[in-house]
Amino acid sequence: MSNHLLEVKKLSKYFPIKGGLFKRKVGDVKAVDQVSFYVKKGETFGLVGESGCGKSTTGRTLLRLMEPTDGQILFNGVDLATLKGETLRKARRDLQMVFQDPYASLNPQMTVEQLIEEPLNIHNIGEKVDRKDRVLQIMDTVGLNKNFGGRYPHEFSGGQRQRIGIARALALQPKLIVADEPVSALDVSIQSQVVNLMEDLQQEFGLAYVFIAHDLSVVRHISDRVGVMYLGRMAEIAPKGELYTKPAHPYTQALLSAVPVPNPRLKRERIILKGDVPSPANPPQGCAFHPRCPKAFDRCKVERPEMIHLGSEHYVACHLYD
């Protein structure tokens, strides 16, 4: 398994629900519930699902921006979940994050140059005099005008700000970038610029991405393999070609059929799911998807499905394939 850059094993993140007179713990919101997957060197792993499915929490837990409740996060063989203090900080150099709203994640009182230089200062990389050159070089790489280094985030458009966010992540030459909805807030024409930039950077630096998004078309475009999450659990993992042409999990099938396609002549068979996603504080017994599943049978109501290997790199958590 040497080509697995990141291997996540049974990762869980529970948030306690407190209530009653003494604010005692009365339950858990199982935001991420025993999720396992791996990311290979230089590949893009897409993580999709609807709001509340736990995809963002998974991304944040990977970087220990949130503490995992249980499970292992093996990065180059080292379990990040157990690291502390200085060792954790050093390990984090190799893992960086890009957020959905770059404006909220950039300090408005810092100039672009300062923003991109900050990670270099924190990790004490290179000589002080060289850092400025490095910043200019990174700005050039992500397509920011070098003359704008003295400007502040508010002077940039959404797409440009996302470039600043990417430049910051790139400054430490990481091996893996977790990108949480990096293009969702952008207009269509700007979205494709940022997607193309991320692909170019991957080529140039051999980066691996965990690309978290709800837009299935964008995920198809950028990913090599895709994981579909539902209610804190992984429903299906497959290489993208297979996931989009031969989805196995009834949820994946419904999700794909729900996406409106920009072709007015195409009339697709649509699986309309009844009802809403249940609350992760009180997930259904058995398979989390069974109350909405058109193919559910008795076993689904009582027994939680394990991941079943369907061949090559295709895995599905569904009793239909047992």
């Binding site: 458009s157 440009q160 207009d187 996406v259 799911l273």
Partner: protein
């Protein structure tokens, strides 16, 4: 054009302060027939929402219609008094917004909010209004409509709230429903539910829908006709088939090519260079010229008109000017 339900003529919407005026909607014309769904498409800042708010007479702050006509059933809405407009609004013209939570009152029960307009506009008794509200809630798919009447907005999910908004909008049998990004805040599976509901409602009541969206997939699925806006101007108007199959404006073409395809793999996405300009910095000449791959010298200092390229298909681009050959190329 006697059957046009809504006809916008040379609409210009301006935001004024003491020093300057910013034109956010610039000389827009289009018309909608009864029972037609027209999609108003464009990126943020193109003026699509401001166009709909102009129609509703709900422009925020210092915004006002500076010029043009909004003909609805033969009457010019811009000439109407505030009282007359409010009689039409929420009655013959209804609107639903992107985020239903901000348009629902959090401290009032759904039932009270649904019946308020009916009692006010339609002089129904409380009982009649409640019966109508329950009927419409059932129509939008609430099996337990009577219970929903007694619930508060926070007790409902996003998709349910949007369905309540649609039920509320449809409670007065409007001729025109303006839907401003109605599914943008919703998840795809919930979006599919809401879009299907809007199609059912349209079929049952022959309501015309003015659909404002940036999602080309939603456009393809819902619209009969499409108006593409860029920087406050209409750049292309056509049937939904012509827009997707014979799109003529370089901006429309670029938008369609920028969207990743769910059905097949592409190696690289097309991208339109540069950024969407803000109203303060709209270029003179063609507003798309600085980002256009096909721009000619002429485009940078002359503003194009809409030129006809087919049946009910118009394009604002010098490439379709009848005397295009006389312009110098780069």
């Amino acid at each position: 054009m006697s059957q046009a339900l809504l006809q916008i003529e040379n609409l210009k919407t301006v935001f004024e302060n003491t020093k300057s005026a910013v034109t956010v909607v610039d000389d827009i014309s289009f018309s909608m027939n009864k029972g037609e769904t027209l999609a108003l498409v464009g990126e943020s800042g193109c003026g699509k929402s401001m166009t709909s708010l102009s129609i509703m007479g709900l422009l925020p702050g210092t915004g006002k219609v500076a010029q043009g006509k909004i003909m609805f059933e033969g009457n010019d809405l811009t000439k109407k008094s505030v009282e007359d407009i409010s009689k039409i609004r929420g009655n013959k013209i209804a609107m639903i917004f992107q985020e239903p939570m901000t348009s629902l009152n959090p401290v009032l029960k759904i039932g009270d909010q649904m019946t308020e307009g009916l009692i006010l506009h339609h002089k129904l008794s409380k009982k009649e209004a409640e019966a109508r509200a329950i009927e419409r809630l059932k129509l939008v798919g609430f099996a337990r409509a009577t219970d929903i009447m007694n619930e508060y907005p926070h007790q409902l999910s996003g998709g349910m709230r949007q369905r309540v908004m649609i039920a509320m909008a449809m409670s007065t049998d409007p001729q025109l429903l303006i839907a401003d990004e109605p599914t943008t805040a919703l998840d795809v599976t919930i979006q599919a539910q809401v879009l299907e509901l809007m199609r059912d409602v349209k079929a049952e009541f022959e309501t015309s829908i003015l659909l404002i969206t940036h999602d080309l997939g939603v456009v393809a699925e819902m619209a009969d006709r499409v108006v593409v806006m860029y920087a406050g101007k209409v750049v292309e108007e056509a049937s939904v088939f012509d827009v997707f199959e014979k799109s003529s404006h370089p901006y429309t073409e670029g938008l369609l090519k920028s969207v990743p395809n769910l059905e097949s793999d592409q190696t690289r996405l097309y991208s339109i260079r540069g950024n969407v300009p803000t109203p303060e910095e709209f270029p003179i000449g063609c507003r798309f010229a600085p980002r256009c791959d096909k721009a000619m010298d002429h485009c940078f200092d002359h503003a194009p008109d809409l030129y006809r390229v087919g049946d009910r298909h118009q394009v604002r681009c010098f490439l379709y000017h009848p005397e295009k050959g006389t312009f110098s190329h780069e």
